[in-house]
Symmetry: C2
Subunit: 135 residues, 2 copies
């Protein structure tokens, strides 16, 4: 119970580099990470969960500055819950926009793939039986 992780272990678990984990702590995204008797970081389960959530924010395009704002609100305690929820809802809308844009672009790219497939087919036919063009 109450697992603890060295920075290496947390790095492996999260996929973030040890550099990035220290960087996140330095800029205030992680606070109060406990240390052992030599000053080495010893992350708790709750730190792992928090880092994983940060990664979800980053992975959906939230800039570090906003993650910092969110993190600061979290440190301030329960009185900031509404503001945090509003931040996440704004971000949620942003994610929906991203997904819509991806869908649009994907469709266009797939059209281009199909177009190329058509050209590849034409070309192989042209070799087989020299079709006269009727454009």
């Amino acid at each position: 119970m109450e697992n603890q992780y060295t920075i290496q272990q947390l790095s492996q678990k999260t996929g973030l580099s040890v550099h990035t984990l220290r960087y996140y702590e330095r800029i205030g995204l992680l606070e109060g990470v406990p240390r052992d008797e030599h000053g080495y970081r010893l992350y708790r389960e709750s730190d792992l969960l928090w880092v994983e959530f940060l990664m979800r924010l980053r992975g959906t395009g939230m800039p570090i500055s906003k993650m910092k704002r969110f993190s600061d609100l979290r440190s301030e305690g329960g009185s900031t819950i509404t503001e945090r929820r509003e931040m996440l809802e704004a971000h949620q809308a942003h994610i929906h926009e991203q997904m819509q844009a991806l869908r649009d672009h994907l469709r266009s790219i797939e059209d281009k793939i199909d177009h190329y497939k058509g050209m590849e087919k034409e070309k192989s036919q042209a070799v087989s039986f020299n079709v006269p063009t009727g454009k």
Copy 2:
């Protein structure tokens, strides 16, 4: 017929800055943009279409270096169609991964929003019920 655009006009149509349009040309993403008698750029309809396609690649996370590769293949002509299709198919897979990641992260973020809503509700109840003799 055969519309032409100044760099300003293309900037407005695409949403890219004039700086970015010149930058794209400088690094070879756009080639053979015609000029008027004073050396001013005069983009054709085909240039607009190409820029719009470039924006779709960028908008789906393709790095400039790969866009450059694609652009170079395009300049080489019809013999590169298969390679271009393969590039787009690889990118298509990448887009699908992005969309899946977004969906996952979104779900997690929405869970958190719901969690906050629950906490907000609790809190408002506490105010309503616990303190009948209000301030």
